[in-house]
């Protein structure tokens, strides 16, 4: 447990995951000779920490870089800048052989479980494979017992192990993917939109499962999602991304009850509320409808990346100078005008 909910860079050593200045530039166009003609800064100078056993939520809209960031911290893609420390060790420069034992300790689950599962492999084979590869079971009997145990953990039955992915519903498939991530005994799981493709009633089941597993196994999650309500339910702290950067980072309570960045405020006010009394309440603050759309990361605006859509942007300041994250109370916010 760390006392400061907005995370403290000085504690970097103590955190399970600690990311400093991470960046990723994708080249989108090359010349005939391989020179870069156009590039896209998907993630730009991001710091974040995840303590053992906690959930950091990462929210933002399409193209804000949240999924790229999730892959960078696992080194599924190579960063262009910055460092990632896992359990105190800089993994940015490790070669694949040195990285392998660490890979067991960090896993990822994706939005679409069907594409994450091999359609020609039974559940038994899909879960047995990582167990064997990592030498976690010695005999076939041991393997079968372990697969059965894992299925039980995610709320499936032993009989399910001889079936193929297409024989399951979407929610059950996501349970299988979660069970497979658990085979190797990870400490950190990056959850990339794990419930976005599921129906509401099934979503709640999977969200509860992830919470139960966290309590039981002490897992840390980096929980990437666009659904603000799900993120609030899952997370202790939340980071808001816009155009490749973190614009606000605070405890879930501060983000949802007292957002400071104008983008966070607009995001929260845009969620349709399933409560007609709140909708009809004349006291309810008017919805902030942002004009325009997020700018392209291939051609980011000068100054604050949010200023072209910002309702409070100040000319001569926000369109000129890029705001850095600064601390207000328990919140870190990248806005010149936030208070």
């Amino acid at each position: 447990m760390i006392a400061d909910p907005s995370s403290n860079p000085a504690d970097a050593e103590a955190n399970l995951l600690s990311v400093r200045g991470i960046g990723k530039v994708f080249v989108t166009k090359r010349s005939f000779l391989g020179r870069t003609l156009a590039s896209l800064r998907a993630v730009d100078d991001v710091d974040l920490d995840v303590a053992a056993g906690e959930t950091l939520g990462l929210i933002g809209e399409n193209g804000c870089g949240k999924s790229t960031l999730g892959r960078l911290v696992l080194r599924l893609i190579e960063p262009s800048a910055g460092t990632v420390r896992f359990d105190g060790r800089d993994i940015t420069k490790l070669d694949e052989a040195a990285l392998r034992p660490l890979r067991r300790r960090m896993q990822i689950i994706f939005q679409d479980p069907m594409s994450a599962l091999n359609p020609r492999m039974t559940v038994r084979a899909a879960l047995g494979e990582p167990l064997r590869i990592h030498g976690l079971v010695k005999t076939a009997d041991e393997e079968e017992a372990r697969v059965a145990e894992l299925l039980g953990k995610v709320g499936l039955r032993k009989e399910h192990m001889n079936r193929y992915p297409h024989e399951f519903s979407g929610g059950q498939r996501q349970r299988i993917v979660i069970a497979r991530a658990l085979t190797v005994g990870p400490e950190l799981i990056v959850c990339d939109e794990p419930v976005a493709a599921l129906d509401v009633s099934i979503q709640a089941q999977v969200v509860n499962l992830l919470k139960d597993l966290q309590d039981e196994l002490g897992l840390a999650y980096l929980f990437v999602a666009h659904d603000l309500s799900v993120v609030r339910f899952m997370s202790r702290r939340v980071a808001v991304m816009y155009l490749g950067r973190i614009v606000e980072l605070a405890s879930a309570e501060s983000i949802y009850e007292g957002p400071k960045h104008p983008y966070t405020k607009a995001l929260l006010s845009a969620i349709p509320v399933p409560d007609p009394n709140a909708v009809d309440d004349p006291q309810r603050p008017a919805r902030i409808v942002l004009a325009g759309e997020p700018p392209s990361p291939t051609d980011p605006p000068a100054g604050c990346p949010f200023h072209p859509r910002c309702p409070i942007a100040r000319k001569g300041l926000c369109d000129v100078e890029r705001p850095l994250l600064r601390t207000i109370g328990d919140t870190k916010v990248a806005c010149h005008l936030a208070e």
Partner: protein
Amino acid sequence: MSDDAPILRVEDLVVAFDTDEGELRAVDGVSFEVRAGRTLGIVGESGSGKSVTALALLGLLPEPAGRIVRGSILWGGRDLTKLPERDLEKIRGREIAMIFQEPMTALDPLYRVGDQIGEGLRHHRGLSRNEAREKAIALLARIGIPAPAERVDSYPHELSGGMRQRVMIASALAEDPQLLVADEPTTALDVTIQAQILALLADVRRASDMSVILITHDLGVVAEFADDVLVMYAGRIVERASRKALFERPLHPYTQGLLASVPGFLGNATKKRLPTIRGLVPDLRTLGAGCRFRDRCDRAIDRCAKDDPSLDPVGDRAVACFVALAEMEAR
């Protein structure tokens, strides 16, 4: 037209699909009305039949797999289920317009935006090419597209998802339809863009006396946008109520469970666990007797396994549940 007059009346609609494993009744005996100037929300999860209902209304069921087995769709004195395709074509777009979740599949990638908006105007209204173009520019301006005189010559792939959805709405509004069927119009969009599109739809509705059928899985969107709500489950309507009544006092155990499992609903956000509905949606090909929700229902009684509850009125709402009905009548 009086406020209460239904402009659309659907009676006992049954839609079936032929699948490799036999016939599947995606919509099984659905009846409802849409009143003039009102917005009817149809909410349900995948497989509930909400989108198939919309497709059936417009005669857009995928052929030959899907067909209307029985029932009627009464529109302006005519039964749409009996009309030949060439008559339906005249109604679609002109009287009843539709917008879909994914505008990229609904817009033709080979035609400029202006030509697609103007197509119906030229065909149905006999406008010249120039007149249709001028009207398209005016519509693009009305729905908040910047530089409409330039955008009118864009191709769909040159636009963002939010812009494409605006173009589809412009195209739907071109001929001043009496009914707009919107199937998950904001589901594929980011939250801030969804807010823009919902605000736009609200403006459009205020400015005309158009009725809207809004199909969505998002209870929040229904709570903000609909006047009346139908809740669908496994091909049936399980509850009908005004928006306020539904959210204040859901009667059907499925509606209750669905509302409770939304993370943002009421005090849910900070609870330790979310309430859930156990189990899965039943397979529509192997339905037995009884209520379709009974296996997932905490309040099921013996009768629920034997008899199939119909959508029975209670006051000015209706519910398809023996237990809820008995409770209401006991009050």
